[in-house]
């Protein structure tokens, strides 16, 4: 009998900055073929948790795994199956859109011919073709974010971690990115995405977890009505039961 390995899993993760507990026993998993949304206030610990998965932050305690491998021990075979966009993107201002995609493909060890095919596909799907010869520094904020998402997905990852991927996008850009995430899910990719837009995550996510004060404190029903109210009730209930 085979067991499915989680795309991402975190168990009792703690990360402190001085006396501030950015992660206070956070536990979360993302299964293959699932979009798991993470919502919470600024400073709730969403980015820190995502950075722990990508090896950018080392937890003080707890276990963090990517595709079954401990993050510290994960090698090239694991990381070539991972794409991410967390805070700082892989898009160089001096390079054109085409060149940035080439850089991302090379660093994900995508063979050159496959990289060209995927780059063409992403340029079309994210409507970036008109700007392919432009330097990234000359793009609008929204188009730069589309480029960053294209760079994160050019390796056809099995795991995708996106921190606020639509924060700078117009409604059309949001729809394009949503289509990309739906396709990723359809081919079995496990997606962890953070957002402040409850309506947006409600449309795409299979699970919605609420993060607050470094912990996962509950879940919201995807597609449910009045998510904002439920979210605030969860947060209020937690603050009442666990005073800071």
């Amino acid at each position: 009998m085979s067991t499915v390995v989680a795309s991402l899993s975190a168990v009792d993760v703690v990360r402190c900055y001085g006396t501030d507990r950015a992660l206070d026993g956070a536990s979360l998993d993302v299964q293959p073929g699932e979009v798991h949304a993470l919502i919470g206030f600024n400073g709730a610990g969403k980015s820190t948790l995502m950075k722990s998965f990508m090896g950018m932050s080392r937890p003080d305690s707890g276990v963090v795994r990517v595709l079954g491998a401990a993050v510290d021990a994960a090698g090239p075979d694991v990381w070539r199956r991972v794409g991410h966009m967390i805070e700082s993107p892989l898009a160089y201002p001096d390079l054109t859109v085409d060149e940035n995609l080439g850089v991302a493909a090379a660093l994900h060890l995508v063979p050159p011919r496959a990289a060209r095919v995927r780059a063409e596909d992403l340029l079309t799907r994210l409507d970036l073709g008109a700007w392919r010869g432009r330097r990234a520094s000359q793009l609008s904020h929204g188009n730069r974010q589309r480029l960053q998402i294209a760079c994160a997905t050019i390796g056809l990852p099995d795991v995708l971690v996106l921190d606020e991927p639509t924060s700078a996008l117009d409604p059309r850009g949001v729809v394009l990115v949503r289509g990309l995430l739906e396709d990723a899910r359809a081919r079995g990719c496990g997606v962890l995405v953070s957002s402040h837009h409850l309506d947006e995550v409600s449309r795409i996510a299979d699970r919605i977890s609420v993060m607050h004060r470094g912990r996962l404190i509950g879940a919201l029903p995807p597609g449910g009505l009045d998510l904002e109210r439920t979210f605030f009730e969860l947060v209020h209930a937690y603050d009442t039961s666990v005073p800071s």
Binding site: M54, V66, W79, S88, L107
Partner: protein, 256 residues
């Protein structure tokens, strides 16, 4: 070419900062050297400049002019190569692209190694170009072919530039540790000043940043003759330590 090297080469080629640095390094040394010699000969320089020119060009032979060029080239190689090195590492932090270098099958250590290798090679190419142009300029203004002694000085000039290039990755390490290219620039300025002081107080033969300049004749022919293999060895030993420390720093880097 390995992916990390291919990517870093593209980034370096496209960087306007790197292009501007290359132009400054390649042209500043020959133009300044030839300009100083011509200025001293003309006798038209006045005030403080006249005194400096007279002092710097006191040895009016071709060998003396090559010694003057060595002083300039080794300092410019350190400044230009150091700036290039601090930029290729520091830009990842200032451009906010460093996070994209995590969670990749190409390790950050390999990426850092490629950055160091390319920055050093480009610096060698820049200083060699500047050195060749300078030697050509000196031959033209002196109007004579290089005699064996001067030819030896010319080779030492090129070697001094190349050796200095091997020292410049340390400023990339400083930029990486401080996560800012400005810190690398600060360390660069401090190092140039420290080299002057160390030489003044007689410790230059064991100070890696002064050895290439002394060997190439910046301190005169007697000082150049005093530079032995053991002194020259301080440069590759220092470069090897910096390489190890930089790769280790990038492999252990966290963005907390």
């Amino acid at each position: 070419m390995r992916p990390a090297t291919r990517v870093e080469w593209l980034k370096l080629r496209r960087s306007r900062t790197a292009r501007a640095t290359a132009v400054v390094v390649c042209l500043s040394v020959p133009l300044t050297t030839v300009g100083m010699v011509v200025g001293a000969r003309s006798g038209r320089a006045g005030g403080a400049a006249a005194g400096k020119l007279e002092m710097l060009t006191a040895d009016a032979t071709t060998t003396g002019h090559l010694g003057l060029a060595a002083q300039l080239l080794t300092v410019v190689a350190l400044l230009g190569g150091g700036f290039l090195s601090t930029w290729v590492f520091g830009r990842e932090f200032s451009d906010g692209t460093v996070g994209g270098l995590f969670a990749l099958p190409v390790t950050r250590g390999r990426i850092a190694g490629a950055k160091m290798l390319l920055a050093a090679l480009v610096t060698v190419a820049m200083t060699t170009t500047a050195g060749c142009l300078t030697i050509l300029g000196i031959v033209v203004i002196d109007g004579t072919a290089l005699d064996p002694d001067a030819a030896g000085r010319a080779w030492a000039l090129l070697g001094g530039g190349a050796l200095t290039s091997l020292l410049t990755p340390v400023f990339g390490l400083v930029a990486s540790l401080a996560r800012s290219y400005l810190a690398g620039v600060g360390a660069l300025i401090a190092t140039v000043a420290a080299a002057q002081l160390v030489v003044t107080f007689g410790g230059g033969l064991w100070f890696p940043f002064a050895v290439p300049a002394l060997w190439s004749g910046a301190g005169g022919t007697d000082m150049a003759a005093a530079v032995g293999p053991e002194h020259l060895a301080t440069v590759p030993v220092f470069a090897a330590l910096v390489t190890w420390a930089t790769i280790r720093t990038w492999n252990r880097l966290r963005l907390d």
